[in-house]
Structures are given as C-alpha cells and as structure tokens.
C-alpha cells in the first residue's frame, strides 16, 4: 500500500509499453503470484500492474492455465499382468540366487 504507483498513467489503451527490465521484474514473480505466495504489498502492486496491462494479464492467465493442465494431465496405468511380472522380476533380482 505504501508503494508509489508509477505505472498508472501510462496506458490509456491495450499495449505492452513497459521496458524489458520491468518485464523481467514482473515475470520473476508470476509463479509466486499464482501460487498465492507473494507478500501482500507486492501482490497489490502486481495486481495493479496487471489491471493496467492486458498483455501481462493474458500472460498470467496462460501461465495459470499451463499449471492447471500439468496438474490434471492424466497418466497411463500399469496392467495387472505387468504389475505382477515386474514384482517377480524385482524379487528375483533382489535375492542373490
């Protein structure tokens, strides 16, 4: 809250106007932001920026979608036969002879 808002008056219309240095600074924090791990003031600051910068907002949304997809990506399962075969192989290898 105490932080000054220097980015506010910059964008009257959708555009990606801030410099690369600022981009990296924002980019760095995005996972912490979507994981809800940013301290309050930083979070407010970032949210304010996102509200003013549609491109960055889209970027965050796409990162969030990416994480959600990873979290829900289905994985193949072993068949009963494979499970049993592997167990036997492991036990055979584990016993000396």
């Amino acid at each position: 809250m105490a932080k000054r808002t220097t980015t506010r008056s910059v964008q009257p219309k959708p555009a990606h106007r801030h410099g690369k240095g600022r981009c990296v600074a924002i980019l760095k924090k995005l996972s912490a932001y979507i994981d809800d791990e940013l301290p309050g003031t930083l979070c407010d600051e970032l949210r304010k920026h996102l509200g003013a910068c549609p491109n960055c907002e889209e970027f965050v949304a796409s990162l969030r979608q990416t994480v959600a997809l990873c979290q829900h990506q289905p994985a193949p399962a072993l068949s009963q036969a494979e499970r049993a075969r592997m167990r036997n192989d492991i036990l055979r290898a584990a016993r000396p002879h």
Partner: protein, 213 residues
C-alpha cells in the same frame, strides 16, 4: 534364533527375509502405480518407465532396513526413483542439461502472450480430453531440461510441496521455486508455440482461437 534352512533349495528364506518380503509386497502394492506414473512423466516412454520402476523398487528392497520412517514412505520412494533416474540417464547420455534464463521467456510479439490452444472456458479436465493437447503437453514436458522437468513433475504433477521436492532433489525451497517457475514458463511457451486447433469446433469457432486482441 534361526531355523536351520536346507541349503539346497533355490531361495532359502530366513525369518528376516520373510518379513522383508512381506513388507516389500505391501510397499509395492501400495506404491507401484504412483511410481509408474512418476516414472512415465520423467521418462516419456513406457519401457524406460518400467525399467525405472523396477530399479526403484529393487533399491527400495535393498535399502528397506535403512528407511527410518522419518520421511513419508512415498517421499522416500520418490527420492530413490529420482536418483535412479539420473543414474540411468547419465548412462544413456542425453542432451546436456542447460540453464533456463527468465529473459528467454519474455514474449516478443503480441500473439505470444496467450496460449494458442483451446482451453478458454473449459476446465482443465475438459480441455485435456483433447488428445492433441495431451500430446502437446507431454512433448513440452519432455523437452524440458531434466533438472527442471524433475521439479515440475514432482511439484505440479505429483503434487508435492516445495519443501518435499527440495528434500528429494537436494535443494532449498527457494531454489525449488525458482526452478519450478522457469519450468512452467518453458512449458507455457512450448504450448503456446504449438498452436493446437480445437478438437470439436463450437459454432463459429472458439473465442480463444481468434488470434490477436
């Protein structure tokens, strides 16, 4: 205390061994699916994943006495699998493990800010019914340099906490988060670059697919 075991039989089983075998069976039964899922995500192909699972449980069997129960059994197994995986990879000598820098993930054109894939308005489960999307995601994850893949798989796919991931890969939480973040940005960029079409086009096309702003 030992029962005299006839030496000629193929597998003389002592009391201790029998106990180990019984606990192993339980360990295997309860965790083999989890380890296979993990291995598939790390290795990509099913055959390599099966090798990794076997190696993991073999090492677990041999090291069972050393497991002191101060970590969760699954965390202990993940750690064994992670070590086995890097050993097996080293033998196969894949691509070098390059570092990912944040700068490379800054979009350079308007179209790169969003994912060019059909996910808008869909739950992740619904979106992932699209086979093409599932394959694209697998490809993106497979392209990750391995140390980043390990962290992404453990954290975002297996659902472990950053602290648990850190104990498995030998990093502090901060380093885990930094690696995870780069891995996510990488996968995001790969997905965005692949541009998947909708599998079942809805009336006049998906709003997501209409390009620029």
């Amino acid at each position: 205390m030992k029962t005299p075991a006839p030496a000629k039989k193929p597998a003389p089983v002592s009391h201790n061994e029998a106990r180990t075998a019984a606990s192993f069976d339980m360990l295997y039964r309860d965790h083999v699916d989890q380890m296979y899922r993990f291995a598939t995500r790390l290795c990509g192909e099913p055959e390599a994943a099966k090798d990794l699972v076997q190696e993991t449980f073999l090492n677990a069997y041999r090291g069972y006495q050393t497991f002191r129960g101060d970590a969760q059994v699954s965390t202990w197994l993940y750690a064994i699998a992670a070590r086995a995986c890097s050993r097996m990879r080293r033998k196969r000598k894949g691509a070098p493990d390059r570092e990912l820098s944040l700068e490379e993930f800054i979009p350079t054109s308007e179209g790169e800010f969003r994912l060019q894939i059909p996910v808008d308005g869909l739950s992740p489960e619904e979106a992932l019914q699209n086979k093409e999307l599932r394959q694209a995601l697998d490809r993106a994850i497979a392209k990750l340099p391995k140390k980043y893949r390990m962290v992404l798989v453990l954290r975002d796919m297996e659902g472990l906490s950053a602290k648990e991931v850190g104990s498995i890969v030998g990093l502090n939480e901060r380093a885990v988060k930094s690696r995870l973040h780069r891995a996510r940005l990488f996968v995001r960029r790969e997905l965005s670059a692949q541009g998947i079409a909708t599998s079942k086009p809805s009336h006049n096309g998906h709003p997501f697919m209409q390009g620029g702003r």
